[in-house]
Subunit: 182 residues, 2 copies
């Protein structure tokens, strides 16, 4: 299973700092060349599930345009230039929820689209979180903070209430982590 | 938490049948108008984790261009026009792994990007699966079938070896489902 080679890349759309599209010419390990492979560039981001000192999970409830309805979510946001994923996770946590956490467990780095790229998700579980200041996200969306027991968290996950793939991945990974480290 | 309104939409890139980009003019509930919202259109797809009759999970191991390395994955693919997500899941299962399943559990519908859209993932857990014919995926990628115990599946998930958000979401949801229905 050898890597594919990018023979050429050309920008076909520079929309803004949140989106660009490239056309790649790609060579497969068997020599076959594909001339028109779409490649989507969006900023990398973090998603973080917070577990408070009392053992409950902190989630957000918000309307998201890309979902088209209200959804439960983890918290997160774009990684700023020069920031590590860990720094972005701690900054977003403080901005969106006013929380600090005793421990930040990295849950891995993931492609958003295994064919077209479309950004990188860095997922985290924050343990021993506590609120140290009022939230002040600056986001366009109205957000409500919701506390869930781990059983409620699992039930909400299974009802499909975390309506973006990276949110569900974060919650599923966090539950698996907590079960493995009980 | 009211929905945002799409006031206008304009196609700015029609790359091919796998990718188009629109520019939306969006109105927030407080009346604020955002004129340059990027919207990514890619085909909806299914991801399926298979649990065989002997209780082991069937996963794939393959190189994916959007990941840039070899990854474990669930199986899946695009939903063809006219197909339901369930039909696509059963067709892909047969093509990619040669398997049929006694039960197909829907694990929900998810936006790939909660801001820019970028497609819809329909996630499934297939129970009581068995191989009825040789796989014949027709995919560009060389694929290896891997059988994992549920403990190995959880460990692989926690090591970040399912390197796309929707694969990790599928595995995390499946493990939570199996735990809740033990």
């Amino acid at each position: 299973m050898k890597p594919w080679k990018t023979l050429q890349r050309e920008t076909v759309l520079h929309f803004n700092r949140y989106l660009a599209v490239e056309r790649h010419t790609v060579q497969l390990p068997d020599g076959q060349v594909i001339e028109n492979w779409p490649w989507v560039i969006v900023p990398p981001f973090v998603d973080v599930l917070l577990i408070m000192e009392d053992g409950r999970a902190l989630c957000l409830r918000q309307y998201k345009y890309g979902v088209g309805q209200v959804s439960l979510s983890t918290m997160g946001g774009m990684i700023d230039p020069g920031e590590t994923p860990e720094q972005a996770a701690r900054r977003e946590m403080l901005e969106e929820t006013g929380c600090e956490a005793a421990q930040l467990v990295p849950l891995g780095k993931y492609a958003v689209d295994a064919n077209r790229g479309a950004g990188e998700a860095h997922l985290f579980l924050a343990l021993g979180a506590r609120q140290v200041q009022p939230p002040n996200s600056g986001d366009l969306e109205e957000q409500e903070i919701v506390f869930l027991s781990l059983e409620e968290l699992r039930d909400s996950l299974l009802r499909g209430e975390f309506r973006m793939t990276s949110w569900s991945a974060t919650v599923g990974l966090a539950l698996a982590y907590l079960q493995a480290h009980r």
